[in-house]
């Protein structure tokens, strides 16, 4: 029984946490791709920026969360979402729009976004320093231990407050994104533009507005994912390096330009990571007596060591590109 709890804590919960964060990030990447047709490498840094804004706001008003019974960082999140959305639109106006006006090839945009990555990281380092910082400043991270009502289950299921908030916000994001894309006029215009920008313009759709809205959504989602990740662990200026690859892997696994695919891809990558580093020996322990000796005495039965976790999305990415180049769902346009 304790082994099962161990599995839930280390695979189900951990996998859902990274899956949610990758999913929210990958949706932004995929939306930007489907509207502007380039891979936006600075996306993970917009996540860091969002978390950084939360850090600044939390430092400025450390007591604000206590008044409503939530962590201050979460209370500051809506403001950070707005700021990051504004940053995304601003970056587009300053760097990407002039390039688009010249009709450059997508690869030029990709390189430009790498430049933006370095610039954002530099800026964040300049103000936040290079070390890790906790987003819990005046409050304490709540940890919930749920004891299982079974005989012999001594270890509880452990889930933290930011993890619960993350799960709730992920569901809210996914549902509202779905409603936005399928119901609202603007969402439909967005789908139309991702399908055929020339025709969209000739049908009277203001494509500049669509581009701006896309950046706002991408920026807002990035702020949510970045903040919740920083809450779960700590805020670091180079957070993006650990996020960039899994997020792009998730977007590609799901089918680039496919928001629902990106969500699925996020969870696939998240669970692949946790399942790969999980010590399967733990689950075999109850059957120790009936197993062959070599298996019973193996110390760790994980696929790869924890230090190689970052390799997993890579392997998954290569596998998907070889066997299903368009992703699990067929990608390219928002459907």
């Amino acid at each position: 029984m304790n082994e099962l709890v161990f599995f839930i804590n280390n695979v189900i919960i951990t996998g859902s946490v990274s899956g949610s964060i990758y999913a929210i990030g990958a949706v932004g990447v995929t939306l930007v791709f489907s509207i502007m047709r380039f891979a936006h490498f600075a996306h993970a840094d917009m996540m860091t920026f969002g978390a950084f804004m939360v850090l600044l706001l939390t430092l400025a008003f450390p007591g604000a969360g206590g008044a409503v019974g939530l962590p201050t960082a979460v209370v500051m999140l809506p403001l950070a979402i707005l700021l990051t959305a504004a940053l995304a639109v601003g970056i587009d106006r300053a760097f990407y729009k002039p390039l688009r006006a010249h009709g450059v090839k997508p690869i030029v945009m990709v390189i430009a976004s790498l430049g933006v990555t370095l610039m954002l990281q530099g800026l964040i380092r300049l103000f936040a320093g290079t070390g890790g910082q906790r987003l819990y400043i005046d409050d304490r991270k709540e940890i919930f231990r749920l004891a299982l009502p079974f005989e012999g289950a001594r270890a509880p299921i452990v889930v933290t407050e930011p993890q619960i908030i993350l799960f709730i916000l992920t569901i809210v994001c996914v549902v509202s994104l779905h409603l936005f894309l399928s119901r609202s006029r603007l969402g439909k215009a967005m789908r139309a533009m991702s399908d055929n920008p020339d025709l969209a313009r000739a049908s009277g759709i203001n494509t500049n507005l669509i581009v701006a809205v896309t950046w706002m959504i991408a920026g807002g989602l990035a702020a949510i994912a970045g903040t919740l990740l920083s809450l779960d662990v700590t805020f670091k200026p180079d957070l993006s390096f650990f996020l960039l690859l899994p997020i792009f892997a998730a977007a590609i696994v799901g089918g680039v330009g496919h928001p629902y695919g990106a969500i699925a891809g996020g969870f696939v990558v998240g669970f692949a990571e946790t399942l790969a580093v999980f010590n399967w020996g733990v689950l075999l322990r109850p059957f120790r007596d009936s197993l062959p000796e070599w298996l019973a005495q193996a110390g760790s039965l994980s696929f790869v060591g924890t230090e190689y976790k970052i390799v997993v999305p890579f392997v998954l990415l290569v596998a998907i590109l070889v066997w299903r180049p368009t992703g699990l769902f067929k990608g390219k346009v928002i459907t």
């Binding site: 789908r191 399908d195 055929n196 203001n206």
Partner: protein
Amino acid sequence: MASMIDVRHVHKAFGGLKVIDDCSIAVEQGSITGLIGPNGAGKSTLFNIIAGALPLDSGQVLLDGEDITNRPANELFHKGLLRTFQIAHEFHQLTALENLMMVPPAQAGENLFDAWLKPGRVRAQEAEVRRKALEVIDFIGLYHVRNELAGNLSGGQKKLLELGRSMMTDARVVLLDEIAAGVNRTLLGDLVANIERLNREMGYTFLVIEHDMDMIARLCDPVIVLAQGRVMVQGSIEEIQNDPAVIEAYFGSNVA
């Protein structure tokens, strides 16, 4: 009569290639003006410039007296200038009906806030748009495929959808880029009849690029002949057909 579209001394070069070279044309209000010329004459480029899809190098484009030089296509759409594409464009992930429903301008839901603040109005308008789209799709003879994804339609059906799109809104000028190419003869008859009806009853002005001379002869007056980026001749179809310079440009000097 007043000019609906006035193109004045427009130049456009791609690299060193002068595609449009000091071209001036006028499309009169209420006319169906044909634009013909050999391949590479600059017809589609001129179209794209008028429709706001290509920036011009120098010159001026007027719509009903208003300067629309280098305005984006979506703005021109709301001023009543519509275009179809030579290679039919469609939102291929939307159904034929939804394609038409994408079109109408000034829908309440277009504005970010109206959709939330006035859901009732948006819904009423959506219903109205849907009714109109059904009417149009019946008119262009695609009613039976209205719920098919537009990407799965045949080339000719996509062309009809292009014309249908221009019927969804109150246009002033419609630019038709080879609307007849790939459409079968019987369908073509309907198409011509529809264009004439829109012109007569709704007062649409048309500028038509066409390679099909029968269709030009039935539909267009006047006809403008473009060659090497400038106007060669302009006149009625009889005048054009008997003009030696046009015959030479089209068929080479040893014919006729």
